[in-house]
């Protein structure tokens, strides 16, 4: 799984330079308290998504990293970067970072991340392009057709109550 993702990531990083439109990036930049760069972390430093979104293997929610987790590395790495300084400020004040929601799941839907991750579905299957961008964007809309295509192909449950209760 990892290898496949790395390959995808390589291709993506090339494409990213060509494709990323300025407008989309600009609105996303202003929308988050810290301009977190997914591309740098995932592609340049080859970090696993699950390092930060660590509950994806264990629970329904993938989770957003705590300030403490950011500070594990950024106590020493890139401490002079203006965005990192913002994190340090949150840490100093012991305040959480008020991220804005990007990925939205439709109503009345249950999506257990760990079921997908443990079944070997790559994160980029549902979150395509996340490795190309700096600030997170939702490129794939989570329609039922999108979910069912995969569920049917893999022969797993398509019962309503698997996802809607």
């Amino acid at each position: 799984m990892l290898r496949r993702r790395r390959q995808a990531a390589l291709v993506a990083s090339l494409l990213a330079l060509l494709l990323l439109g300025g407008a989309a990036a600009a609105s996303a930049l202003t929308s988050q308290p810290i301009r977190y760069n997914h591309n740098v972390h995932v592609v340049a430093y080859k970090m696993d998504c699950r390092f930060c979104h660590s509950s994806a293997m264990k629970t329904a929610s993938a989770g957003i990293p705590s300030v403490e987790k950011c500070m594990i590395c950024h106590r020493v790495i890139a401490v002079d970067h203006p965005e990192i300084k913002k994190i340090a400020q949150y840490w100093k004040e012991k305040k959480p970072i008020p991220w804005n929601r990007v990925t939205e799941l439709p109503d009345y839907t249950y999506f257990p991340h760990f079921r997908m991750v443990n079944a070997g579905i790559a994160c980029l299957t549902c979150h395509p392009g996340m490795d190309k961008v700096d600030v997170a964007v939702q490129e794939q809309e989570f329609t039922m057709g999108f979910c069912l295509k995969c569920h049917k192909a893999r022969g797993v449950s398509i019962e309503c109550w698997s996802c809607h209760i």
Binding site: D107, C160, S162, H164, I165
Partner: protein, 233 residues
């Protein structure tokens, strides 16, 4: 992994205390209807303890029958739904209710001989901070949607997930709906009929077994064990 969930209610143990009703309300985000709505027959509880008067010679006896959804094999509610919002779940062999699809025709409730379905006539409100109690495992239903007992599907799912994580089958007694969990005299038993060693599989062979309105041919999966009579008068 297929299952066939079933419930057996021992009326010889049931005391009628209603602990199951409140446990169900707490587990399943059931709104409070209020006196006025209750007066119109719009109580939102998924499980009621029906009380029947039964004449026995000179005496009149009160009989308590906890009545959740029967999860019929031949469910009258399913065949009348124009949008397949209520249908038979293949994985768990239960009668499923899909809120997303429901358009509120109420045909299903009309066709249910057990009157166990309830309808959201309003967008029910939880006065703050009572909403902090809401169970995050299942949705809060909005106006115009039918709802009913799910055998605590969120608990079934959690049981499956735990078993999956540990790489094993679900153990008998691992999945317990809120009503069965709390029942003080232990009258409610829940389990998988496809597991031949489960307690319910044994209980359904009990000669005391009967089903509500069996003559209708609905083949309920919620079954009852008849109250026994002691010797003497």
């Amino acid at each position: 992994m297929k299952h066939k969930w079933a419930m057996v209610i021992d009326m010889d143990r049931c005391t009628g205390c209603g602990a199951c009703v409140v446990a169900c309300v707490a587990e399943n985000n059931t709104p409070t209807a209020g006196e006025e709505e209750a007066g119109k027959g719009r109580l939102m509880q998924w499980l009621r303890v029906s009380r029947f008067w039964k004449k026995e010679g000179e005496d009149t006896r009160a009989i308590f029958v906890p009545t959740p959804c029967m999860h019929c094999e031949k469910a009258p509610c399913e065949i009348v739904c124009p949008v397949y919002a209520t249908y038979h779940d293949e994985d768990d062999q239960v009668n499923a209710m899909v809120y997303n699809r429901c358009i509120g025709t109420r045909y299903c409730a009309n066709n249910c001989p057990y009157s166990v379905r309830v309808f959201n006539w309003w967008n029910h409100q939880w006065e703050k901070p009572l909403d902090e109690q809401l169970n995050p495992d299942l949705s809060v239903r909005s106006r115009g949607v039918m709802e009913k007992c799910t055998y605590c599907i969120q608990r079934i799912r959690r049981g499956k997930e735990t078993a999956l994580k540990e790489g094993r089958k679900i153990r008998d007694g691992e999945v317990v709906p809120a009503c069965a969990q709390t029942c003080p005299p232990g009258a409610i038993l829940f389990g998988d009929l496809l597991d031949p060693d489960s307690a319910v599989s044994r209980m359904v062979k009990d000669p005391r077994l009967f089903k509500l309105m069996e003559h209708l041919g609905t083949e309920p999966k919620t079954a009852y064990l008849k109250k026994q009579k002691g010797p003497g008068r």
